[in-house]
Amino acid sequence: MTLFLQIALDGILNGMLYAIVALGLTLIWGVMDVINFAHGEFLMIAMYVSYWLGFLMNIDPLVSWVASSVFVFLLAFVTYKLMVSHLVGKPALSALLATFGLSMFLKNLCLNRFSPNFKLLPVTVLSGKTIPVGSLILSLPQLVIAVFSLAVIFIVYRFIASTRMGWAIQATAMDKEAAELMGIDTEKIYGLVFGLGGACVGIAGGLLPTYMPVHPEVGSLFGLIAFICVAMGGFGSITGSLFASLLVGLVEAFAGFYIAPIFKYVAVFALYLVIVMLKPKGLFGW
C-alpha cells in the first residue's frame, strides 16, 4: 500500500511539473492557434538562466526563477515580434515549421555557447532534500515545483477569467477581428500571450535545476509530453491541460512500475490515443 501511494505521489508531483510546462503551450495554442514547437527549448533556456545565475552569482533557483521567467518572457516576446507575428493567420503548418527551425536553432546555439556538458547546481537550498510523510517520502524540489505550478495555474486562470486584460485575451482567441473592433490591440495581446506562455515555462525551467541537470537536449521530451497533455486536455483549456498533466504523471508512474519502465511513455502515448478516440476533442475540449 505504501508503495502504491508512493508511486501515486511521485506521479502527481511529476504531473504538476508537466502541468506548468503545458500551461504555457495551451495558452499560446488556445489564443493564437499556433503550435510552438520550441516550447521545450524555452524550458531549456530557462534552466540555463537559472543555472548560470546559480553558478556565477550564487543565486538560488528559489530566487532566480523570477529572472528565468522574465528572461523567457522577453525571449518569447521577441520570438513573436520577429517570427510568429508574420505567421499568424497563414497556413497552420508554417508556424509549426518556423518554430521547429527555432527549436533547432536554440538547441544548437546553446550547444555551441555552453558546450554539451551536463550542468547541475551542486548545492541549492532545495536539492536532495526530502520530507518524510508517514512512510512516504516527499521530494522537496518536486514539491516546490508542484506548489508553484498550482499557484501559477490558479493565477493565470483567474487572470484570464476575470480581468479586463483576460477578457481581451479571450475575445482575441474567439475572433481576432471582432476583438479589434472592440478597441483591443490584438497585436499586443498576441505578443503578451506568447510572452506569458514563455514566462510560465520559464518558472518551471527556473526551478528545475534544483534537481535536474541542464543540457541542450533537456527540453525535447518535456516539449513532447506538453503537447500530449495539451491535446489530451483539449486545446486551449487550462483546466483540461491540468487534469491531463496529472493523468499523464500518474499513468507514467504506474505503468513504469507495474508494467516496465521502458513502457512508461508508451503508456502515456497510448493513453492519449484512447482518450481522443473516446472524446475526439480531448477531455475538456469544445
Binding site: 479571450q170 475575445a171 477581428e177 471582432a178 476583438a179 473592433l181 472592440m182 478597441g183 490591440d185
Partner: protein, 238 residues
C-alpha cells in the same frame, strides 16, 4: 449642410492584389443616418472595412473629424469614436451577453461610465437585460443582432457603422432590427449603414449612396433615390 464628420476621398482597396474599390468618395455629417446600398459584391462591405481600419486603402484618404485616419488600425479607430458592427455579427459566442457588452466598452476604464452605458443599452434593448447572463450563442438570430448593435454602442461612438444587419434574418425580425437602428439615434450617434434590402434601408435613412462595382454611381436624399427609375429597376426589383 453641416461640416462632414467622416470624409472618404477616392479610396481604392482590394484583397490580395485584386482591387475591389475603384475610388469611393462619400461624406457623413453629424447626426445623419446614411445608407450605402448596392448589389452583391459591389464593394459595400469592403468600403466599411476600409473606413473601420480593418483594411488599408491602396489609394485615397479617410478623414474623421478633420483628422487624417487613413490606414489606422481598427482598435485605434474605436478609441477615436468610430465603431464598426461587422457583417455576420461576430459575437463572442462563448461569453455571456453582459461580457460581450463589457468588451464593447473595452476602451473605457471608468467603471461608473460603463455601468451608465450598460443601463442605456438595456433601456434600448430590454431583452438584453433579461438575458444578460446567457451565453451569446444561445440567443436567436434577431437577439444576436441586437446584441451586436448594443455592443457597438457600448464604446459610445460618435459614428457607428452597421453592416448588413438584416442578412439571414426572418422578415419580421428585419423589421424589428431596422426599427432599432432608428432608435439608436437617440444616443446622439451618427449612423452609416450598409444594407442589401434597399427599400427598407432607404425608408429609414436620411441620405443614400448607391455603389456599383466599386464606384459610387448615385447619391442623394433617400426619398429622391427611392423615386429614381434606375434604383427601382436595378435594386427594388419592381
Amino acid at each position: 449642410m453641416a461640416d462632414p464628420i467622416l470624409k472618404v476621398t477616392d479610396v481604392c482597396a482590394g484583397y490580395g492584389g485584386v482591387p475591389v474599390l475603384h475610388g469611393i468618395s462619400l461624406e457623413v455629417c453629424e447626426g445623419e443616418l446614411v445608407a450605402i446600398v448596392g448589389a452583391n459584391g459591389a464593394g459595400k462591405t469592403t468600403t466599411m472595412r476600409t473606413i473601420a481600419g480593418l483594411m488599408r486603402p491602396t489609394r485615397g484618404s479617410v478623414e474623421f473629424y478633420e483628422e487624417d485616419v487613413t490606414g489606422l488600425p481598427a482598435h485605434v479607430m474605436v478609441k477615436k469614436g468610430l465603431t464598426y458592427v461587422p457583417e455576420g455579427r461576430r459575437l463572442f459566442q462563448k461569453l455571456s451577453v453582459r461580457e460581450n457588452l463589457e468588451l464593447g466598452a473595452f476602451t473605457e476604464r471608468n467603471r461608473d461610465v460603463i455601468e451608465e452605458r450598460l443601463a442605456r443599452v438595456y433601456d434600448l434593448f430590454p431583452i438584453l437585460k433579461e438575458r444578460s447572463d446567457q451565453k451569446a450563442e444561445t440567443m436567436s438570430g434577431g437577439e444576436q443582432q441586437m446584441l451586436a448593435i448594443a455592443r457597438g454602442l457600448m464604446s459610445a461612438p460618435k459614428l457607428i457603422l452597421l453592416d448588413e444587419l438584416s442578412l439571414g434574418l426572418q422578415p419580421s425580425l428585419v423589421e424589428r432590427v431596422l426599427r432599432a437602428v432608428t432608435e439608436i439615434r437617440r444616443f446622439n450617434v451618427t449612423v452609416l449603414m450598409v444594407e442589401q434590402r434597399v427599400l427598407e434601408a432607404l425608408e429609414i435613412a436620411d441620405r443614400g449612396y448607391v455603389i456599383q462595382s466599386g464606384r459610387v454611381v448615385m447619391s442623394g436624399p433617400s426619398g429622391q433615390l427611392l423615386n429614381s427609375e434606375e434604383v427601382k429597376r436595378a435594386y427594388l426589383g419592381i
